[in-house]
Symmetry: C2
Amino acid sequence: MVDREEALELHSKNPGKISVEPSVEIDDAEDLGLVYTPGVAEPCHEIDRDRENAYQYTSKGNLVAVVSDGSAVLGLGDIGPEASMPVMEGKANLMKKFGDVDGFPVVLDVQDTDKIIESVERMAPTFGGINLEDISAPKCFEIEEDLKEKLDIPVFHDDQHGTAIVVKAALENALELAEKSLEDSRIVIIGAGASGIAVANFLVNAGAEKVVPVDSSGVLDPESGNGYKAELAEKTLAREESGSLEDAMEGADAVIGLSTAGVISEEMIESMAEDPVVFALANPEPEIMPEDARDAGAFITATGRSDFDNQVNNSLAFPGVFRGALDARATDINEEMKLAASEAIKNFVESERDKIVPETLDRELAMDVAEKVEEAARETGVER
Amino acid sequence: MVDREEALELHSKNPGKISVEPSVEIDDAEDLGLVYTPGVAEPCHEIDRDRENAYQYTSKGNLVAVVSDGSAVLGLGDIGPEASMPVMEGKANLMKKFGDVDGFPVVLDVQDTDKIIESVERMAPTFGGINLEDISAPKCFEIEEDLKEKLDIPVFHDDQHGTAIVVKAALENALELAEKSLEDSRIVIIGAGASGIAVANFLVNAGAEKVVPVDSSGVLDPESGNGYKAELAEKTLAREESGSLEDAMEGADAVIGLSTAGVISEEMIESMAEDPVVFALANPEPEIMPEDARDAGAFITATGRSDFDNQVNNSLAFPGVFRGALDARATDINEEMKLAASEAIKNFVESERDKIVPETLDRELAMDVAEKVEEAARETGVER
């Protein structure tokens, strides 16, 4: 486990985890006259003539806002904008490290759906893309949908789609090792927040026919819950099944926990089908510790943590996804681009039981994901 | 004069003028576990406990948003957010270069006063300071006043106060060389936009008793114009004088042009008092070219440009002003801090007729300004 003091010391050193640096050097008065007044008027003119020239003369095309209202941060919940800042900075740090993307944290002191939409819309001319982060469900769905519609730059809620992309890659590799197919496997998904709903939808869209979405009240009910839950229930076994998490787990080939610490018991795992796959992705404490899961018969385990095997972590996806989208100057990150990213991650490893996903620290992975995402952007016509 | 092609080439190289860089390195899984999940939860907790801890564990305390709606950019006017981006990036670049401040451009797609205020308010938790830039008058006054009231971080409209700080320093040095005092000199200020009004107010507050503010209709009228113009008129000779710019210039000891190209004629300069000081600060084309001003008898000339002597440029002030304010974790940039900055700039040079201000490329100057500003912040009790 990570040492508390060490984490605090690292964060207080500079302090923080990002810095803004000149990418053009000013060495003499002539340089200053180009970077600042009077020379700066020239690119201003060019962009005034045609807004698209912002991609040619400014940092816009490589800038991604990492936006949060701090309403659903990690497992910590609604801690507000200031306290969410370390997560957003971490994201920005990784974007540059692995994807050469200039991520910048923007934490917002407003939690109303419409006001968040409005705030992002207003600052959008600055950026080449928007990464929404740690915004609570269900408002996160509406915010993303609305911004995707309104803006001509890609908008990506990483808690939803980053997670979905990586989970699908990891799950397909795990099921292959267990000699099962995505289509025919009974897949229980625990949690119907941003990531749970997005993972379930992404797997269903990719052909999974036996998904069972569960929230804290049991198998989702097509007749109740928010619209996003009901809509998902209709597309899964939840339209015909009901019951508790225990009930749902019986005979399941895979379980994907995107909920809270400790909700999976060893008994539940014992009730699963042969060679069960157990992803316990709650952070920082998983739904069941991987050693306990294996003791109970899990064939393959994964968590969200770096201190166990098989870290299913969004950082496998988002740096490459944004790199690819920015390289295409894409107007959107669509389903095909997400599928291409997931495929690239899946194929990046010769998978084994303790290695169903690539290492999180692999820059080559991000570049490979980027290439595939850019390709998909061009094929689907969302490039500039 | 700056070469157009060269300016465009410089801006398109990266493209843009800033980048966001990791300030903490991630070399292995352990680092990742500290920077990102699970370690990142620790600083989140600490800030959740006390918001002020954001200064200890995040980049907030060194981040300054360079905010514009693009409504009054250089001499180019209302060119909108995208086209204003090169100016904001230039500012951010200089902030780091000279003041070690992490400036970040945020251009807003909204021009309404209340909406600009609201937008900045919402993103404020991210930043340690707000630099407003190229927002048109008179709305810029209300925006700044309101944000200063609402936010607990310093808000500084550079077009107003950066200009005022540097102009006062330059003018005092020039008047000293001409053996005149600020109090007794007749000082004509051309232009009643953001910078004109701020310069006039700053000089009046510093003791100048014979300021004559002029706009495109002539000497300001205490009975008309927007409230800011009328209020200024009441504090200056405009309360008792009227007439044209020509009239105002007769017998003036100094003229400060903050308006548009070409409005000062040689005849006007010939009508001024002995050893007249002529600041023609319109950008990129000054109110009168310095050689023409000198031909007409100007004792000292200054412009806003780097290709002439005596460049009166905000970049002499803002990097140090923000450095000092951030070092004090100031809640405001108040009048005393601005006066301290102006004094530091004035005293930084052994002034001569062709050197009434320091070189714009001097990092030591910014550090000196910072020290004085931080001191003033502590003396006036706005430090954290």
